[in-house]
């Protein structure tokens, strides 16, 4: 009895403790809290997954609408082109003034067109310009063509040739003022093309028969440090595609870059480019990543002279700043650059200015970018070619 009594008092003591624990105010409803937290986490995860998959679906949908808007615009272009080919230059229907067509239904969307002779040109230049704004549901696209009517010939087709195509600004509507804005830009580009033609003619014979990227780079006077590796894996059971043609800097050092743009008769100066941080042997296969950055760097061989790595970056940034300042003040060059490009050039210049004193791949990339900016400015704007 004692034992049992003892035992009873012991168990009742345990029971009391347990009951007290159960009745502890902090423990009540704790499972619900856990469930609530789990549910919240699950809900958040589910919602994120749903949102992500929905947004990727939405992006594809936007892309699809954009492509369909382009298809609508292409239909409009084909209609105008077919009519031009049938009428010829003499019989063109817009000879007395621009023709504007609004909201023509086609291919599930609508398009508006403006077609006119290129202003301020001789009659025998036989050039017309066409602006199309195509709309497909929520998506719209603006396209511009400069068209050349060729001479009458026995050749049974293609009497109208697109000289230049551009996507126009998204907010442009088919109106003479909107086309005016593009006309000057396209005229400048066509002028560049004509000025570059002699250089291209000189370059072309040496490019005949060239089938690999390294060979092409060599012809263009580039000096990739190392071999360029084809990054496409061969198919199952197929031999690797032999595209690893080594092309060392030494092999191409004597090749002078072609004179691709010298409207004023002065040869262009190659912009600065950064040094390769790690010398790469021509026989050493390199990863596509390294190759890409090295080949970019080698597009304009570095000539920093006695400058240190950091000073080289600063010199590059100064040149970039000077070029930006130049085309911002020059009326002929200013329209050739968009505001987003200008801000990109500025930020690239800032980045180049802040490179470290010791070469590293991250800073190399910044210098490559600044160098590439300089090249693109030089190609587009001869006045500011520093």
């Amino acid at each position: 009895m004692n034992e049992s009594g003892g035992s009873g008092s012991f168990s009742s003591a345990i029971g009391r403790r347990t009951r007290r624990m159960r009745c502890f105010p902090g423990r009540s409803g704790v499972a619900l809290v856990i469930v609530f937290v789990v549910l919240t986490l699950l809900g958040a995860a589910g919602l994120s997954v749903a949102l992500l998959s929905h947004s990727s679906y939405k992006e594809v949908d936007i892309l699809s609408l954009h492509l369909r808007a382009i298809a609508v615009g292409e239909v409009g272009f084909a209609e105008v082109l077919a009519r031009m080919v049938a009428t010829g230059w003499e019989g063109r229907w817009f000879r007395d003034g621009p023709e504007l067509k609004q909201d023509v239904p086609s291919a599930g969307g609508t398009y508006s067109t403006l077609v006119r002779d290129v202003p301020a040109r001789r009659e025998d230049s036989q050039q017309a310009e066409l602006l199309i704004r195509a709309q497909y549901e929520r998506s719209s696209v603006v396209m511009y063509w400069r068209l050349l009517f060729t001479a009458r010939s026995l050749d049974g087709r293609i009497h109208v040739i697109p000289l230049m195509f551009q996507f126009g600004p998204d907010d442009a509507t088919p109106s003479p003022s909107a086309v005016d804005a593009l006309t000057g830009r396209v005229d400048a580009l066509l002028g560049d093309r004509e000025r570059n033609r002699p250089a291209w003619d000189n370059l072309r014979p040496s490019m005949e028969g060239v089938t690999t990227a390294p060979e092409l780079a060599g012809v263009l006077g580039l000096s990739p440090a190392g071999s360029i590796v084809d990054s496409v894996e061969p198919g199952r059971g197929r031999a690797p595609i032999p595209n690893q043609v080594p092309l060392t800097a030494v092999q191409t050092a004597d090749r002078t870059p072609p004179d691709v743009f010298s409207p004023q008769g002065s040869p262009p100066q190659p912009p600065l480019s950064p040094p390769s941080s790690t010398p790469v042997s021509s026989s050493t296969p390199v990863s596509s990543e390294t190759t890409s950055s090295d080949s970019e760097a080698s597009t304009s061989p570095l000539d920093c002279g006695s400058l240190s790595y950091r000073d080289c970056g600063i010199a590059l940034a100064d040149r970039l700043d000077a070029s930006v300042a130049c085309f911002e003040s020059d009326t002929s060059c200013k329209p050739l650059f968009t505001s987003s490009e200008v801000s990109r050039f500025r930020s690239d210049a800032d980045a180049a200015k802040n490179v470290g004193t010791v070469a590293n791949s991250a800073d190399d990339a910044k210098l490559v970018q600044a160098s590439s900016d300089l090249t693109s400015i030089a190609l587009r704007c001869p006045v500011c070619q520093k």
């Binding site: 009745c23 809900g43 082109l81 026995l154 087709r157």
Partner: protein, 450 residues
């Protein structure tokens, strides 16, 4: 002895704990079930998006290639019918669809995409192939005439694939290609009727210059349509002769450049410029032949001595009409010159200095001029034409499928003279004959005493 606190809390604590777990389990079940559904749905949507995205890429690639083919292959409609098996859908994998016969230049000789040697989208590229196994692409095409003038080839590209639970999904994209074939144009001299009528007054009624043709003819008591018909026959050759003569200096200078000591590229360009001038002149002559056939036929049937309202000696009329006779001679001469200049620009030693695209275009134009000469002038050059096209086709194998398709269609249409005539513009085979017979009839009628 139980404390009052123990008595108070025992039952509620136990009941609440059980209830709590029950509620928790129910809540969990209630929440997890839709959550599972949500996750499964998201996964499904993600797969659908991936499918849709790859389908969009495929259909865009095909549309772009069709648009390019519209420029490079004048026989695109024929090629579509032949290659695409009448528009029946074909799988994009295993080389069934002509647009996916080769996807990687992975076999020597490199630089050429050789069907049968280089890989299609087959087991070799299983990772790419697997998600596209059910994708099939098909086409339908038709010509549509524009309400104004001109014609379009409308192609509907359709892509179908099996999606979730084997549901058949479809996507389509329209592609329009302008029909770039050119019809004969009225000679520039008679496009503007007011100008042409003024010139006719000057030729036929020189004493009434300054008045309109309608007034002059009505005062003279002639027939306006016959006066215009005769007037056009007099005006067009004269203006053409002036236009041809105005190019004489340029032609002489280009000829000396072609045979000079300039670099090959400059000489090739000069030869090309020469060919373009001759071709334009030949085209103008041909346009004139076609355009004047109708007025000549009208004159042949209705001409009377008082059609003009005034008497003109038949000898004067005949000498005027003799200039019309020069049109077919001029067409023939210019065609010969065009072909010679194109050949010079295209062939060794000058040809290789031209860019590949310009050289190809030169050959295509040469083929077009040869076709015209075989059909319109009945020249026996069919074998030469076929061998030229065959050589070009061999050269383009594995390089440009549009040019290969073009050559194939051309060879098919040049099988023999009848096929060639049938595939030409309907007015072309009879253009010269019709003109010559109408002109003979008019001269005969003018010579005949009334």
């Amino acid at each position: 002895m139980k404390s009052p606190q123990d008595v108070r809390c025992r039952r509620p604590c136990r009941a609440f704990s059980t209830l709590e777990i029950l509620i928790a389990v129910v809540l969990l079940i209630l929440a997890v079930l839709p959550m599972l559904d949500l996750l499964i749905g998201a996964g499904r949507q993600s797969r659908q998006t991936a499918d849709y995205s790859s389908s969009l890429s495929l259909i865009t690639k095909v549309s772009e290639e069709l648009r390019l083919a519209g420029w490079e292959n004048p026989n695109l409609a024929d090629s579509l019918r032949r290659d695409l098996d009448g528009g029946r859908a074909s799988s994009v994998t295993d080389g069934h669809s002509p647009f996916f016969r080769t996807i990687e230049d992975d076999e020597a000789p490199y630089g050429f995409l050789d069907e049968g040697r280089d890989s299609p989208l087959d087991q070799t590229y299983e990772t790419l192939r697997a998600p596209l196994k059910t994708h099939s692409i098909g086409f339908s095409s038709c010509y549509r005439s524009l309400p104004t003038t001109g014609r379009l080839l409308e192609i509907q590209v359709g892509l179908s694939w099996k999606g979730h639970q084997n549901r058949l999904l479809e996507m389509s994209l329209p592609v329009c290609v302008a029909d770039l074939a050119v019809r004969p144009q009225l000679p520039k001299a008679i496009v503007d009727r007011t100008v042409a009528d003024g010139l006719i007054v000057g030729f036929l009624y020189p004493d009434r210059i300054g008045r309109t043709l309608t007034q002059v003819v009505s005062e003279a008591g002639g027939r306006l349509d016959l006066v215009r018909a005769l007037g056009d026959c007099l005006v067009v050759p004269r203006i053409l002769a002036v236009a041809v003569a105005s190019k004489a200096d340029q032609i002489a200078s280009l000829r000396s450049k072609v045979s000079g000591a300039d670099p090959s590229l400059d000489r090739a360009r000069a030869a090309l410029a020469l060919a373009l001038i001759f071709e334009e002149q030949a085209a103008r002559y041909l346009d004139a032949l076609v355009a004047l056939s109708t007025p000549l036929e009208l004159l042949a049937s209705d001409w009377t001595s008082n059609a003009l309202g005034r008497q003109i000696p038949s000898s004067t009329l005949i000498s005027s009409l003799s200039q019309v006779r020069d049109l077919d001679v001029g067409f023939c001469r210019c065609t010969v010159d065009t072909l010679a200049a194109y050949r010079q620009a295209h062939n060794q030693p000058l040809g290789p200095s031209l860019s590949a695209r310009v050289r190809t275009r030169t050959l295509v134009r040469m083929v077009d001029v040869l076709r015209t000469s075989v059909v319109a002038l009945k020249w026996p050059d069919l074998d030469y034409l076929r061998s030229t096209i065959k050589g070009f086709q061999r050269q383009q194998m594995g390089c440009n499928p549009n040019f290969v398709a073009w050559a194939e269609s051309e060879l098919e249409s040049c099988r023999d003279r009848d096929t060639l005539v049938a595939s030409s513009a309907p007015w072309l085979p009879t253009a010269v004959e019709r003109f010559e017979s109408a002109l003979q009839a008019v001269i005969k009628k003018v010579q005949t005493p009334y």
